[in-house]
């Protein structure tokens, strides 16, 4: 076992990405993801990679587009307002069926908002980050170890399905330090026969493009992409269930709010309330199958989020009227406390009666 080190979430993502073979980082500074870019600036040159601070977020994401088209493992990172600026480029990357990793260490919004932790970009991340018919795989780590593990695996998933992948963290996870065991550096990366690497007239030319002037052609690419999405939905759903087997009340929470919810669920159990925690690790594809299975016995659901109620939509879609779905959240950079969540669990429990 490798030695555990103490690292910030932001740094763990960066180191892990390098170990996954990422050699290109393009970004623009923003709190609270700063340490990620700073770590890349320090480490990338030592690995023979490229760290480049672009003149803007728009420039950075288009550099990602270019490097990905050329077959490189490439990433960018930002925080909420900066991610919005990148959304046009992400849509182009999705339209050109190119893989890349995008990190969003969320802060409060809308607008410039605050620099404190938030989860208010859930809709943006899971519905479509940008215009057009597309989605992308979205991971929601809740520990520094998971940030490292998911960043490491994200490039493989991106390459396999030729899609952008996002890690949706927040200022708390980015800034906090925990012990982490880093993965071994990858030595073999997948072939990319579609990459625009120059062909010396030995093969047909490869083109990376998202412009289709014939409607039927564009429709065909969208159909093809959505068939791939079905495969992703079948293969890539991830969730962690804690004490859900006999739970009456299932608290659904991801990322940082799942940590808070976990404590609240433990307190509730100590009071004899049958509560459990369902923690989506993929936000898209949403872990529908595992959540659906809990509907066989759960009497109520509570979605806990650091926003005004966004993921609760997905919970309701899955539960589909079989049980009440309630919401508790704080927003703007305010972090909910375990005591607040416990109070909400208690009141739901009272409503259940015997």
């Amino acid at each position: 076992m490798a030695e555990k080190v103490l690292m910030k979430g932001n740094e763990a993502i960066a180191e892990s990405a390098i170990r996954a073979g990422c050699r290109f980082f393009f970004g623009y500074p923003i709190t609270p993801q700063t340490e990620l870019a700073a770590y890349m600036a320090k480490r990338m040159p030592k690995e023979g990679g490229t760290y480049l601070q672009a003149e803007s977020e728009v420039a950075a994401i288009n550099m990602v587009y270019g490097a990905s088209a050329a077959g490189a493992r490439v990433m960018t990172s930002s925080s909420s307002p900066g991610v919005s600026l990148k959304s046009e480029g992400v849509s182009y990357i999705a339209g050109a069926d190119l893989p890349c990793l995008i990190i969003n260490i969320e802060r409060g919004g809308p607008g410039l908002g605050s620099i404190q932790p938030s989860q208010s970009d859930y809709w943006q991340a899971t519905r479509a980050l940008g215009h057009g018919d597309f989605q992308m795989v979205v991971y929601a780590p809740s520990t520094v170890q998971e940030m490292a593990d998911l960043a490491y695996g994200a490039f493989d998933v991106a390459d396999k399905y030729r899609t952008p992948v996002m890690i949706l963290g927040d200022g708390m996870l980015g800034q906090m330090m925990e012990p982490v065991e880093l993965p071994e550096p990858k030595t073999e990366l997948p072939e990319k026969p579609w990459a625009t690497t120059g062909h010396g007239n030995a093969r047909e030319k490869n083109v990376a493009n998202s412009l289709y002037l014939v409607a039927e052609e564009l429709e065909r690419t969208n159909f093809e992409r959505f068939e791939r999405y079905e495969v992703i939905k079948a293969n890539e759903q991830m969730a962690e269930l804690t004490d859900c087997d006999d739970a009456d009340i299932i608290v659904v929470a991801f990322g940082a709010s799942a940590r808070i919810a976990r404590t609240a669920v433990r307190y509730a159990r100590e009071e004899g309330i049958k509560a459990g925690l369902f923690r989506p690790i993929t936000l898209w594809p949403y872990p529908k199958d595992a959540l659906d299975a809990t509907c066989a016995h759960a009497k109520a659901y509570l979605s806990v989020e650091m926003n005004m109620g966004q993921m609760v939509d997905d919970v309701r879609l899955v539960v589909n009227g079989r049980a009440p779905v309630e919401f508790y959240g704080r927003t703007g950079g305010v972090i909910p406390t375990p005591a607040e969540v416990l109070e909400k669990i208690r009141s739901i429990n009272e409503g259940l009666g015997d």
């Binding site: 555990k4 080190v5 103490l6 709190t31 609270p32 620099i115 404190q116 200022g171 708390m172 800034q175 906090m176 330090m177 925990e178 012990p179 940082a256 940590r259 808070i260 976990r262 404590t263 433990r266 972090i335 406390t337 375990p338 005591a339």
Partner: protein, 177 residues
Amino acid sequence: MEEMRIVLAGFGGQGLLFAGKVIAYAGLIENREVSWLPSYGPEMRGGTANCSVTLSDEPIGSPLIMDPTVLIAMNQPSLLKFEETVVPGGLILADTSLVTRIPERDDVKIFPLEATNMAEEAELKGLANIVLVGKLFKETGFCAPETIEAAIRKAVPPRKAALVEKNLQALKMGMES
């Protein structure tokens, strides 16, 4: 061992985040669950700064501590802000070189220590933070004695290795106070 939730608070520049890191490394070395979370508002040198450190044997929930078992306060505003949050039976360590009003709670143990003056007199200016970590170790034994030294060695970055000895001196001073 009981979960220990420590809030370290004071002015920016007093080394609170570093002191928190030393405690976190002690947990890491002993293979415990550890979290360290800094406040990261628009902080600056001379402004207020704080950090939350949790050491536990169970997976840690929120790394943001609302109900500390230990408060290390290095200035008066920080003491005022956090003293009521300390759980009954908890500890408050106050640097009385800078904290003039000692809390009146009788349900917590209070340890006043002129850490800043002690450090300055011993020509260890800027190491009051580590004096207080030494005091915390003395009062709680939150890790094994050999661990705390090793934690200092890990927390001091290699380019500042020359400062390890001074940190160890400050630590010892706190342990003997």
